[in-house]
Symmetry: C2
Subunit: 449 residues, 2 copies
């Protein structure tokens, strides 16, 4: 029996301890038993400078490890490699991985790397480099095996047995006509279960609709999820077969999409390298802090309009963050549910109005519940019934607008082609801060002074 | 040429407009041309009550559509179906989908449904129901096709051609010994490319380590991502082959995991149904608002300790939200990067200290940058150099602690088996609010009064 994956042969800790001793020979021995994806993970979790030192001082399958690394961490390493070295690594990769890597380089650098390759690989890569990274073209592999429809299965089997190797993750061959136009898929499962005297066109499947080369990768991912595909043909507008997309590439798309949403909520992007040098991280994050500072100043400005009330009743300063905070939380809940609903394709103009009514109703109901609680606490704390009524009313008002903007913001941003996950949160809390402070201090000015 | 998927035959809008006219005949016609996953999506995006009405009034493949629906929305529908109806639907599903559905029902209900099934399906499902939903056992299908190692490929091909159909997404048959213990995988790709006189054991692959039935599903997903598997055998501790996990189930795991992280950040869970009745949504969200209210009161209490300073200098009330807000944003950035790093397995005891130093350095540097900016603005706005110095110092202090807690909180929560995505944000902003208000108002009391 082989070792079970629950006890992997080499742990990240073992690699670290060898690295901390600067024992590169030991690292080399460990690397020999480590899966390339784990070597990639180890390299990524080193401080950026150390990463380069380890890279230069040890031996392992460069192409494999690079293909498992994330863009930001990889860019740093490739930067230090010669064009020949990059060319050698990329020719060993699947086309889609190689293209993914090349697309992170400058145009000039790509030229140099392509020139350092043999003719065949250069042509293959140039063809695919042309397509957008986030489209079906950028995801596809060009290692498709094609057959004609008028051949018998027997002939196909004879051919396959002579050529011995199929591209990785082949679940089907692609049937094309004389002009290389896509006609159908010949599944291996059908080859082995059917009478070998039948023709390819008798048993080929036309169930799977080929994917146009310019389809956005998120739509590709959705198709794979809905239909459980293993591989799907990619065609151009003339139905010419260009390549195929396999499910493992789609796993990456889904993982990256989820990463992006998570990071965007905190104003970070996928390139943010946990292990990058301190200064570059500081700068990357400073921008977002600056944007938020502007919105915080806006809230301060609103508060400043009520200096008179604040100077007379100090309880207002004590309680005002509660109103803003409740609005922010309630709005974020609506916003999150909306962002997810939009991503899953469940929100459309047909049900948007119904959803708006529901979210606003939820906001007002929760506003009423917590208005009572906060109102009573405020009354007791500051011995003022009127203060309790003011804060209760402000909470209801703020949660109403929180639901309203949490619901409409992502729809508006989406229409403007801005990622709601990135901008939604800042704008939303600006709204809930401004309305929260204005409602509370405004009502206080009217009723309490 | 078939229609391309960019222009799907039936749109969500068409379904809606038929529904709005209550034209169930029209809906039935449209359903006949709609992919089950799109019908599922349409049903999910209807108000909960309407969903039941449409379900009862229309015709479509119940089993298929149910297997594409999310747990919460589906539970509602199953609740209204008779045990026989549920039994009929689940016997048509893949084992893993059927189990997934049954696991959302009460024990008593499961009993009823199992009793309404034929013996064969009951036995098959009972075996798998036993395993945790979030483990390899809960993900697996039991429709494996097994062969012995001493047969020739020719014999295998003859058998396959006679039995004509392979389970969905079969990329390999499983080789077992006389006791049904797993020995290797026989890939279809190897069947079609090798000499048919060879024996199964000559060409079977032992590269893929089988997955133990109790492996958590997140680890299963990570293995698939790293190795690009299509299907993997699942075994018990005696190496007995129990079933197989296919990549499409793993897509679901990854999607659900990413959903969970996103929703947890807003105190929501996967069961939160955008289209549920208003009252149940109100209640589900109220809990999270209540928890946040407690932390907001804590912040108010801290502010209340400085009533004296606030009553003398109204500028403090105007500026104090800025200090708290900058800390919250900076801390959230660190927290987000950490949550992702932990999920990707890039953070361990070996590099935690190094990461802490870096995050704190980033926090202090950003603190200094924005302390200068905010300090100058405050000086000019309120014509007070001292006030500028106080707010600058408070910002540096708060961003220092924000980095510290953003870094350590997820590690501590993880050790306590609490999801950092769920609890991290609340605790973090409590820390940054309390420290922000205390530092700013405390320093003001010392230096300005």
């Amino acid at each position: 029996m082989e070792t079970l994956p629950t006890t992997p042969p080499v742990t990240l800790e073992e690699l670290y301890s060898a690295w901390q001793k600067a024992a590169f020979d030991e690292l080399n021995e460990l690397f020999a038993e480590t899966h390339p994806s784990d070597i990639a993970r180890f390299l990524e979790s080193l401080p950026a400078k150390q990463r380069v030192i380890v890279w230069k001082s040890t031996e392992f399958d460069r192409a494999e490890v690079l293909s498992y690394m994330h863009d930001a961490e990889r860019a740093e390493l490739i930067h230090r490699m010669g064009a020949e070295e990059v060319a050698a690594a990329t020719t060993e990769m699947d086309t889609d991985d190689a293209v993914d890597l090349l697309q992170t380089l400058s145009e000039q650098r790509v030229e140099q790397v392509l020139m350092a390759m043999d003719e065949e690989h250069r042509q293959q890569l140039s063809k695919v480099l042309f397509y957008d990274e986030d489209s079906a073209g950028g995801l596809m592999n060009v290692d498709t095996l094609t057959v004609r429809g008028d051949l018998s299965i027997k002939v196909i089997l004879r051919y396959l047995r002579r050529h011995a190797e199929l591209p990785d993750k082949t679940d089907a061959l692609f049937v094309v006509d004389a002009e290389n136009r896509y006609r159908g898929m010949l599944f291996l499962a059908d080859i082995v279960t059917n009478n070998p005297d039948l023709l390819v066109e008798d048993i080929m499947s036309t169930q799977i609709t080929p994917i146009p080369v310019n389809m956005p990768s998120q739509s590709v991912a959705l198709l794979f999820e809905q239909h459980g595909f293993i591989s799907v043909p990619v065609i151009d507008q003339d139905s010419t077969l260009l390549g195929r997309i396999t499910v493992d590439d789609v796993l990456d798309v889904i993982r990256e999409e989820s990463d992006r949403t998570l990071l965007h909520r905190a104003g970070l992007d996928e390139e943010d390298d946990m292990f990058a040098p301190t200064l570059s991280t500081t700068w990357a994050r400073a921008v977002w802090l600056g944007i938020n500072l502007l919105t915080a100043f806006l809230a301060s400005y609103v508060i400043g309009q009520f200096e008179n009330a604040l100077s007379q009743i100090v309880a207002l300063a004590v309680l005002m963050p509660i109103v803003a905070s409740m609005g922010g939380i309630a709005g974020t809940q609506t916003l999150t549910v909306m962002i997810r609903g939009i991503a899953l394709g469940k929100v459309s103009s047909a049900n948007a109005f119904w959803l708006l009514k529901k979210e606003v109703a939820v906001g007002v109901l929760n506003g009423l519940i917590w208005a009572v609680v906060v109102g009573i606490v405020a009354m007791i704390w500051f011995s003022s019934i009127k203060l309790g009524l003011v804060i209760g009313a402000a909470i209801v008002i703020n949660l109403f607008f929180a639901a309203f903007s949490g619901m409409l913001l992502p729809l508006i941003l989406k229409r403007l082609s801005i990622d709601p996950a990135l901008a939604g949160g800042v704008i939303l809390t600006t709204v809930t801060d401004v309305i929260g402070f204005a409602a509370f201090l405004g009502l206080a000015t009217l009723w309490l002074l």
